[in-house]
């Protein structure tokens, strides 16, 4: 049994070598269609990361009325922290705000020297909980905060958030559609490439069956070959993708590459696609 397995595996690699041309062509075809898939996956990966980052930056700014006392500030702090939607609440005093502002202005600080009093209010920077980082929850929380005594204004970048939500929604939509097309065409192209190699060896399959080969004996080499081709094609496409990524960084400096974990998952998926593709292409030639 083991010896048979070894023979069939050897057979697979012998066949790959024997049909170098066909093997090379199908690996190239697979690599290119997988590259298409990989580019798409990387784009999605980056999109998700950007959305995640943008969400992480979402904050609610609560500005206080002038002349709120120290105890008033503490009461407000407690009230805001107690809300379901809030995670961390940071108090930024008007003095600190001015200092920050001064730092941001840099050389132009003399502008501030003209001021007689500090025009900036006390503020809370509120970080919403992750599950509440969406438009409705934030707007709802902001409304509640505005009701509190001593709060003069609440800002959370309403326009930005509205636009952002719409863009993310559209991006997800486009991404899903493109993803379906890309995945379907990759599977289609790969299964056709595999089918070509199977058709090329239809006669061998027929002969093997005539001399009494079981289906497993016939399919095993094909599955091993498919897996091998899938693996190689995955590696080649990842290599090409690295090139594409490096080139794109000129224009998109923030573009990230797959993590090692994701690259592994991708490779194993390609191996699976290769072997399953081989198997399904073969099935029609295995009538018995």
């Amino acid at each position: 049994m083991i010896r048979k397995g070894v023979y069939l595996t050897q057979e697979a690699f012998r066949t790959l070598l024997r049909h170098k041309g066909v093997t090379a062509i199908s690996v190239v075809i697979m690599s290119l269609s997988l590259l298409m898939l990989a580019v798409f996956l990387l784009a999605t990966d980056n999109l998700l990361r950007l959305v995640g980052e943008a969400h992480r930056d979402l904050k609610i700014y609560v500005y206080l009325e002038d002349g709120v006392s120290q105890t008033g500030v503490e009461t407000l702090h407690r009230q805001i922290v107690a809300m379901d939607e809030t995670d961390t609440v940071v108090f930024v005093s008007k003095q600190q705000a001015l200092a920050d502002f001064r730092q941001q202005l840099g050389e132009e600080t003399d502008l501030l020297d003209a001021l007689e009093a500090n025009p900036l209010p006390h503020a809370f920077w509120v970080q919403p909980r992750t599950e509440h980082k969406n438009r409705q929850s934030i707007a709802y929380a902001a409304g509640k905060m505005l009701q509190l005594d001593g709060v003069s204004e609440v800002r959370y970048g309403k326009e930005f958030l509205d636009k952002f939500t719409a863009i993310v929604k559209a991006a997800y939509y486009v991404d899903t559609v493109v993803g379906l097309i890309v995945i379907l065409s990759a599977v289609f192209i790969i299964s056709n490439a595999v089918r070509l190699t199977v058709i090329g060896r239809r006669r061998s399959i027929e002969i093997l069956r005539l001399v009494g080969a079981t289906n497993r004996f016939v399919t095993m080499p094909f599955i091993v070959e498919g897996a091998f081709q899938g693996g190689v094609a995955a590696a080649v496409s990842l290599l090409l993708l690295t090139g594409v990524t490096l080139l794109s960084r000129r224009y998109l400096p923030d573009l990230t590459y797959f993590s090692a974990e994701k690259a592994m998952i991708y490779t194993f998926t390609c191996i699976a696609i290769g072997s399953v593709g081989s198997f399904t292409a073969l099935r029609r030639y295995l009538r018995v």
Binding site: M1, R3, K4, Y7, R18, H19, R203, S204, E206, I207, L208, R209, L210, V211, G212, A213, T214, N215, F217, V288
Partner: protein
């Protein structure tokens, strides 16, 4: 059946063992849609028999063969090969049936990308045989068909006759109790046909039954021990000719006759060439030397 064959090869020739049925076909019908390919055919082939299956093309010879190695299943009736019964077996078992049969075709069906040795070995590899056993048996059957010296050649570098001998070696590899030959000489010229027939006779005389489909009437007339005549899907005639003994002897007689005829023909040709060469002075020197047995110039051109 396969296991006891090593012993059987020596004493299968005597009649006492001939009553063992290796193929039983009972009321077999095969229809493709409306077309009837075989219609209620019944016959049996016993151990060690040499049976010719004749009939015009389309009579159902190949269909019948395919039913025996169960590439197709009967519409009605039953095929029994050894312990395999078509109506009582699963498709999964078909490979195991095929390991008990040797099948030979008109187009040889060799693996083009493997050498001669591997082409024979594959029949044993599918059964899980490997190593020394495999090598010994392949060597044995290749010697039997006289092609051991070409074991490393690829099929395309062999002549048609040699390719068919490789196919025969492959068919013999698993010690089958019967060899099915579907027009095995259809693609071969008469001389090579004879060579293949001689080989099949020898195999048969060692105890293996042979069922051979052909439309070559001369062959059947000269060698037929038992002739099954198919016509329009029906078994028209099952004739035992009474022709017995070693068929190779008959082949020898026929061949001596043929060689004599050929020699006469060659002599005639040579004398003709000598006379033409003598009259045409402007021919190149090489062409003037009469070479007996060489194809005529016209034939050579057609070939290239």
């Amino acid at each position: 059946m396969g296991g006891d064959n090593s012993a059987a090869t020596t004493d299968m020739n005597d009649n006492s063992r001939e009553d063992r049925t290796v193929i039983g076909i009972y009321h077999l019908s095969k229809r493709y849609g409306d077309r009837v390919a075989l219609d209620d055919v019944s016959l049996t082939v016993s151990n060690g028999e040499f049976v010719f299956l004749v009939g015009p093309s389309g009579a159902g010879k190949s269909t019948l063969m395919r039913m025996v190695y169960m590439d197709e299943m009967p519409s009605e009736g039953q095929v029994v090969v050894g312990e395999f019964v078509s109506t009582r077996m699963k498709r999964r078992q078909v490979p195991f049936l095929r390991r008990r049969l040797g099948v030979i075709f008109q187009d040889f069906k060799l693996l083009e990308d493997r050498d001669v040795f591997e082409n024979v070995a594959i029949a044993m590899r599918v059964t899980g045989t490997s190593g020394y056993d495999l090598k010994r048996r392949v060597t044995q059957v290749l010697n039997q068909v006289g092609l051991y010296h070409k074991r490393k050649d690829l099929p395309r570098s062999l002549s048609g006759g040699e390719q068919q001998r490789v196919a025969i070696a492959r068919a013999l590899a698993n010690n089958p109790s019967i060899i099915l030959a579907d027009e095995p000489t259809g693609n071969l010229d008469p001389e090579v046909t004879e060579e293949i027939l001689r080989l099949l006779f020898r195999i048969n005389s060692a105890g293996t039954a042979v069922l051979m489909a052909t439309h070559d009437h001369a062959m059947v007339r000269n060698f037929g021990q038992r002739i099954l005549h198919l016509r329009e899907g029906k078994l028209f005639e099952d004739k035992r000719t009474g022709l017995t003994g070693d068929l190779s002897d008959r082949l020898d007689t026929l061949q001596r006759e043929r060689v004599r005829m050929q020699r006469i023909q060659t002599d005639l040709e040579r004398s003709r060439r000598v006379s033409t060469a003598a009259t045409t002075d402007d021919l190149p020197a090489a062409a003037e030397v009469p070479l007996p047995g060489l194809p005529e110039a016209g034939d050579g051109e057609e070939l290239t």
